[in-house]
């Protein structure tokens, strides 16, 4: 029986283990001081880790990786299904995905939205803002990557040389819209925006250092090599659904997106109504663009998809109808994207990455063209020299 008297100090664990804990803790802290860029597989994680509170990404950064791959292949720990491609991702001085200097030149409209609008998984010259700007002939500002909050949008509009009054809100059906904030929450957000002006950079850096551990990333990577579905069960694969298309190609979908497709959910029209009122009070006009999820677009081509309960898949149509009924201009990309996806499939090409949630450059091109047509009544590129806000 072990008692204190039988223990001697020959191999003193009382010293060894606390010292080991301390050493590993110091290694962890030391590694946190280094940027995580080299440990990331794509731009999003690298550029959001140290972002200032009011921005979508770190400011004035350029990220380039020759072999990035899709978020679903990463989430599901499925290296065999990766589609390698290069990714160049540049941010401006305000912390949004635009070329350097974009925040200084004249812009005709602001694009806000989720990672589809940011252009996750495509290069700088392929994202929605770039392509739409090229199609309409005047420059749009990419402010996607933050919650579409009127205070933030109005504050941004004041910082830009905005020559129009249009705010395009790209909304992917999988995106969870925030609730209409309470007054208290708005005060908090304003305080954060104020703070951003003073200490945003250091605050973002400190938050990144505190919340992201390179040692965690390295350890997880090592574990993923073992929990690969051959040596040990791949517990990560539960986050994705592996589909097979009629042509035999595998395609990954996010599990929550597939489940969401079959669930009847409410349209967050109250938020848009509130956003529109707030923006109108600030002299801006809102247009909502609905982008379909990858599962919605490719489900008709998946071999043996789940059965469709009645009324479960009409979300985008309901969203379009309800937003329009609320008096907000809306462009629904589901029909053009779905039709084009079917056409491309016959040629063996896709509008969404097979290993990623997001659309690819071809999908963005189709979406941009449909948005251009829908915006004809709202977007004016000339005269380009009239400031939208007095006193800019």
């Amino acid at each position: 029986m072990a008692t204190s008297s039988t223990v001697n100090a020959r191999g003193s664990l009382a010293k060894v283990i606390p010292v080991l804990l301390l050493v590993i803790f110091l290694v962890d802290v030391g590694l946190r001081l280094e940027r995580v860029d080299r440990l990331t597989f794509r731009a999003w994680e690298a550029l959001t880790t140290y972002r200032p509170p009011g921005a979508a990404f770190e400011r004035n950064r350029r990220y380039y990786k020759a072999r990035t791959y899709g978020d679903l292949a990463a989430m599901g720990n499925l290296p065999a299904l990766r589609q390698y491609r290069p990714e160049a991702f540049t941010t401006d001085r305000l912390g949004f995905r635009n070329p350097p200097g974009a925040a200084s030149g004249p812009v005709a409209a602001i694009l806000v939205g989720d990672s589809f609008a940011v252009g996750c998984a495509v290069n700088d010259d392929e994202n929605l803002t770039t392509r739409l700007s090229a199609l309409v002939g005047c420059r749009l500002y990419n402010a996607a990557g933050i919650d579409p909050h009127p205070d933030r949008i109005l504050a941004l509009a004041r910082k830009l040389d905005l020559r129009g009054n249009l705010v395009i809100h790209e909304y992917n059906e999988d995106f969870e819209m925030p609730p209409v904030p309470t007054e208290r929450r708005r005060r908090h957000q304003r305080a954060m925006a104020w703070m951003d002006g003073w200490v945003g950079g250091p605050f973002g850096r400190a938050r990144g250092i505190l919340t992201v551990s390179p040692l965690e990333i390295l350890s997880e990577r090592a574990l993923r090599n073992v929990e690969n579905g051959r040596i040990l069960p791949n517990q990560y694969s539960a986050a994705v659904v592996k589909g097979r298309l009629a042509n035999g190609d595998p395609m990954l979908f996010r599990k929550s997106s597939v489940d969401g497709f079959y669930r009847k959910k409410a349209v967050p029209v109250a938020y848009w109504k509130w956003l529109q009122e707030e923006l109108e009070a600030g002299g801006l006009q809102l247009v909502v663009v609905i982008t379909p999820s990858k599962y919605r677009v490719y489900r008709p081509f998946v071999v043996e998809p789940r059965g469709l309960p009645e009324g479960a898949s009409d979300y985008v149509d309901r969203a379009e109808a309800e937003v329009r009924a609320a008096g907000i201009p809306v462009i629904n990309l589901t029909a053009p994207i779905s039709a084009s996806a079917a056409q491309h499939l016959q040629e063996g090409s896709y509008l969404y990455w097979r290993d990623d949630v997001h659309w690819n450059a071809q999908g963005i091109e189709v979406g941009a063209e449909a948005i251009r047509e829908g915006l004809q009544d709202y977007l004016r590129c000339s005269p380009p020299n009239r400031p939208a806000f007095p006193g800019q």
Binding site: V7, R10, G11, I17, E216, S219, I231, L232
Partner: protein, 462 residues
């Protein structure tokens, strides 16, 4: 917060330890231990701290009453009020929904339309354990086995002592009162080697063995209908080692943490897989729980006195309650009943059983426990049937990922569990090479913790 988590190792434990040893005086150390207990508990749900405080205050007051009054009526009141309050809380949070769903199921089966709405509530973690701490205190005080304490900080420190707060061992006040009484004279470094040795071994058991086995068998058992006979046996065998190394590991870590604060917690697992019969098994498995049911349920029911049917009844009732304590579900009740029947069966065949070769007795005991775990691990009555059917009739089935690793883990885990010394039997006199090996395994555990979210201990759900 889990012992096997980075916030515990890097933040909570160093602060709790460093402040504790810099405080002098009993009361200050009691207060600090109580504070750390409540902070530790609040990481799950701070609102339930009020529940634990209520239980503590009621039982403390009951203890004071027992100190003050000698007449039978008031002493009985001091017993009944706190025990009823404690058990009512446990009953409400743990068993209300089980009762409602069972009544709903029964009424549906009988063809009635009545449906009671199920309450939307969370089971406060560890309530089964701290309730038993307070119940044993008040019952022992009533029986005169312990002298109730007048010090509220001391009692609060006992109930909320973080090493044993959420999953035991169910330490009785009398087992720890001596160390608590000497807490101001405890020496910081006296048991530190022992403490870290227990803690490191517990961590290795939990993270490297139990969690690895769990990673393999959990998905396989989730799809138990695809398992063949071999796969079903491997999974249930794996679960036998998973649950032993998981809870045994937790208990070792708790003992180690106790030593860090100058407190000796009792042994909870005394090599149960070396048991020669099922009665022996229950003297070795989760000792603090089985001795609780022995002392506070089985013996008050009459124990082994009286006619044989009465003894059988006492055994079955005790084990049914033990099963219900493990979980508010019918598989757990059924498991308790099955164990009760095994104990009764052993009483009937004991003379014959004891004539078997010792190896056969041990193997037979282990076999029966493994079979019982097929019931315990199942999430429904349907799964119990399906799993047992696969174990006891031939099914070809499909293989599952990790089967080779599972076999290796079972061999290693089995070798230590059946033939190696338990943590209390070890000398903990590590030569530099063994200490290095242990430290290396501990570092591996840390990297596992870094690489994946800490996995809760199985007994937290009870």
């Amino acid at each position: 917060m889990l012992f096997n988590s980075l916030p515990f190792l890097y933040l909570f434990l160093p602060i709790a330890y460093l402040v504790f040893w810099r405080l002098s005086g009993q009361t200050r150390r009691y207060v600090w231990l109580a504070i750390t207990g409540y902070v530790f508990y609040s990481f799950w749900n701070y609102r339930f701290c009020a529940l634990m405080l209520f239980s503590t205050v009621v039982s403390y007051a009951g203890g004071l009453g027992l100190l003050r009054w000698q007449d039978r009526l008031r002493r009985r009141l001091c017993l009944i009020v706190p025990v009823t309050a404690d058990l009512a809380l446990l009953g409400f949070f743990k068993y209300t929904n089980f009762a409602l769903t069972s009544v709903n199921g029964l009424s549906s089966w009988l063809g009635f339309q009545t449906r009671f709405p199920v309450l939307d509530m969370v089971l406060p973690v560890g309530i089964s354990f701290y309730t038993f701490h307070t119940v044993t205190y008040i019952v022992d005080a009533y029986r005169g086995v312990v002298t109730p304490t007048r010090s509220f900080p001391k009692f609060a420190a006992y109930v909320s002592l973080f090493p044993q707060l959420v999953a035991g061992p169910i330490v009785r006040f009398r087992q720890i009162a001596g160390d608590l009484g000497r807490i101001d004279r405890a020496e910081e470094t006296r048991d530190l080697d022992l403490a870290w040795s227990f803690f490191a071994i517990g961590m290795i058991k939990k993270v490297l063995i139990a969690d690895t086995i769990g990673t393999i068998i959990n998905p396989a058992l989730a799809d138990y209908v695809s398992l063949g006979t071999m796969g079903a046996w491997l999974c249930v065998l794996g679960y036998a080692y998973q649950v032993y190394y998981d809870f045994g590991g937790y208990s070792d870590m708790a003992v180690g943490l106790g030593y860090m604060f100058g407190l000796r917690l009792p042994q909870n697992f005394n090599s149960p897989y070396k048991a020669a019969n099922i009665a022996d098994f229950w003297r070795r498995w989760h000792v603090s729980m089985s001795s609780f049911f022995r002392d506070y349920v089985y013996i008050p029911l009459g124990g082994s006195r009286g006619s044989r049917p009465k003894v059988w009844r006492n055994l079955i009732v005790t084990m049914l309650l033990a099963g219900l304590w493990h979980g508010a579900s019918w598989p757990c009740v059924l498991w308790g009943g099955f164990i009760g029947l095994l104990l009764v069966g052993y009483l009937l065949v004991a003379p014959w059983w004891q004539r078997l070769p010792y190896v056969a007795q041990r193997a037979g005991t282990f076999f029966l426990f493994v079979v019982s775990l097929a019931i315990f691990r199942s999430q429904s009555l349907k799964m119990i049937g399906g799993l047992l059917q696969r174990m006891f009739s031939w099914h070809s089935g499909t293989s599952f990922v990790g089967i080779e690793v599972l076999v290796a883990a079972i061999l290693v885990a089995g070798a230590f569990a059946h033939f190696g010394p338990n943590t209390f039997e070890m000398e903990h006199r590590w030569s530099p090479s063994y200490a290095t090996g242990l430290a290396a395994l501990f570092v591996m555990c840390l990297f596992m913790l870094y690489g994946s979210a800490a996995r809760p201990f199985l007994y937290f759900q009870f």
